[in-house]
Symmetry: C4
Subunit: 195 residues, 4 copies
Amino acid sequence: VFAITITLLVIDIGRPSPESGDLLQALIHQWPSYVAFIVSFIYVGVVWMNHHALFTHIRSVDRNLQWINLGMLMMTALLPFPTAVLAEALAQRHPDNERVAVALYALVSGLMSAAWIPMFRYLRRHPHLLASPDDLEYFTPQGIRPLTGVALYTLAGVVGFLSPLVGLALFVVMVTFYAFTSEGVRGQTRSTRPV
Amino acid sequence: VFAITITLLVIDIGRPSPESGDLLQALIHQWPSYVAFIVSFIYVGVVWMNHHALFTHIRSVDRNLQWINLGMLMMTALLPFPTAVLAEALAQRHPDNERVAVALYALVSGLMSAAWIPMFRYLRRHPHLLASPDDLEYFTPQGIRPLTGVALYTLAGVVGFLSPLVGLALFVVMVTFYAFTSEGVRGQTRSTRPV
Amino acid sequence: VFAITITLLVIDIGRPSPESGDLLQALIHQWPSYVAFIVSFIYVGVVWMNHHALFTHIRSVDRNLQWINLGMLMMTALLPFPTAVLAEALAQRHPDNERVAVALYALVSGLMSAAWIPMFRYLRRHPHLLASPDDLEYFTPQGIRPLTGVALYTLAGVVGFLSPLVGLALFVVMVTFYAFTSEGVRGQTRSTRPV
Amino acid sequence: VFAITITLLVIDIGRPSPESGDLLQALIHQWPSYVAFIVSFIYVGVVWMNHHALFTHIRSVDRNLQWINLGMLMMTALLPFPTAVLAEALAQRHPDNERVAVALYALVSGLMSAAWIPMFRYLRRHPHLLASPDDLEYFTPQGIRPLTGVALYTLAGVVGFLSPLVGLALFVVMVTFYAFTSEGVRGQTRSTRPV
């Protein structure tokens, strides 16, 4: 699902075909599509890596975990929708639409973060599903990350509703921050193929 | 196929880009797309889990089983089509189209259930394909589920043709029911990655 | 690639959304889309199974085999294009376009068959790539199948250019024939998951 | 990601449905779509094979390698966009748009090559990630290939900006060259399934 979502993002970049010879301007005009593509690509990429790292700590999966996991996949699979809406609104440069689109993007991104909360919560309460009891230590600091994500995306949504470009900048900052602090892959050396 | 279908559903959510500043209204107006996305996502998710659980009971696959399996995949891969038609008809709020779209969704969903009937039938008659003879007990109660599915989706189609919103409500109820009664993952603990 | 192609076919089924209440007629009007979806789905499904069966006979892959394989994947990945063109032309009911669309579908289907010829040829000449020397017997009768496919699709293209509906009927007959005679899965029992 | 990208390329081939009976002309008119499909399919195919071959030389993956890898996937996933823009511009036959589209295609293709530079650089500096120290010899000649790629695609972009058709011819030449000189699969016999 992660691999497919990350690859589908390209479909929503418009293919301009102006009648007259202003393809260059048309391509430049849709620069928000490129920013949105990159930000969403990296966000899904980080979540993919974290998800992959998470399951190296899990030994067995029960029914509830499967549903929690499906919820995480649903939020991830949904991301191309707000990405496309945001890119379009920014290209149109209509302030009211930009506000709404930034808020929508923040909402879905926040839900993507929120979907991790029950995962960590459930695993802390059912340590027998973990690969080893030591993995519990891994989950305690990790449990804060999705809460931070929800808080920051709520903030970005509110700020972005007032000033869309500040909201957009916040998305870029947050994805960069996520990328550099991602616990799941911190310094570890794994003998498997990367995601 | 399940992973791809579940991820393709997002493509059919419209990307509104109104000229004037009424993006919020445009987004709200297409609320049926979101309901349809969620209902179809969960339905494919449940079928995916059941399909995955099913194949843990199967040891070897013969030619006939492969064809039955391809039929199941075909019905699943088809689901984004009635999902999109239904969402569009509900957004238009044209009563006649809503009736037809609800009936179409019920038809394809019913066929998705029906595609499981020959699978269970064939496995009961060819127990040597199963991982262990005990698995036969698993298939007897399971064999009733697709029949119930076909009956309920036929009912939902007929009711929905008379009153589309009742039909839609029935889809939501049925997916919730499926999610909670899914035999395939009931209480079991498996040592594999979730679907 | 097979799984993705088979699932992408659904995207090309039109999502009708008539302004007035004639959704039923619009859905019925595009019946060729459903036939084309089913025929192409089964064709890719058969090729997928044969491809899967083929690689159980191959022990190692060299550079040339990889290129031959990429050619097979290219022809398969292309199939949704003539499928969509054919469905659209049949829905329009314009005789000249139907002829062209049937010929195009026959061309790509024939190329899909043709792509298997170098595969069998190469493996017969490089038996050290096979899992066992006995597998050579498997490849001798199989080698005739793609040649038959090319001949029949050429015939279907020519006949279809004269009478599109006869051409379409030939596609259905051929896919049915392929499905029932597919060597790759004949009566064999394999201990792997189906495609 | 490679498999999905390679299969998504077909979506951007237009599905012409002219009102009158000139489907044949409409299909011929969009010949650049077919050339662009084939060139991009082979390019992604070559990169896929090289990527696959590369990871047979890598024993373990650290955080930095994962990010470098994600960058390579991002450039690959982006390719359908310039492919579609180029095909459309060539079909329109507007000189100014053709120049821009060829330059855009060269830019993304060049970035796809450039994304391999940090990969080889990082592996040369961290040989403990390799499967065996002998693999270092493999990476020294390979390290020149992406640099050549970047140089040639820059050249193709500049030349193509002056004469689009010469640029297009250069793309075809380069993909052919890549296909025949691809180190990753040169003469080697591997016991795995092809990509």
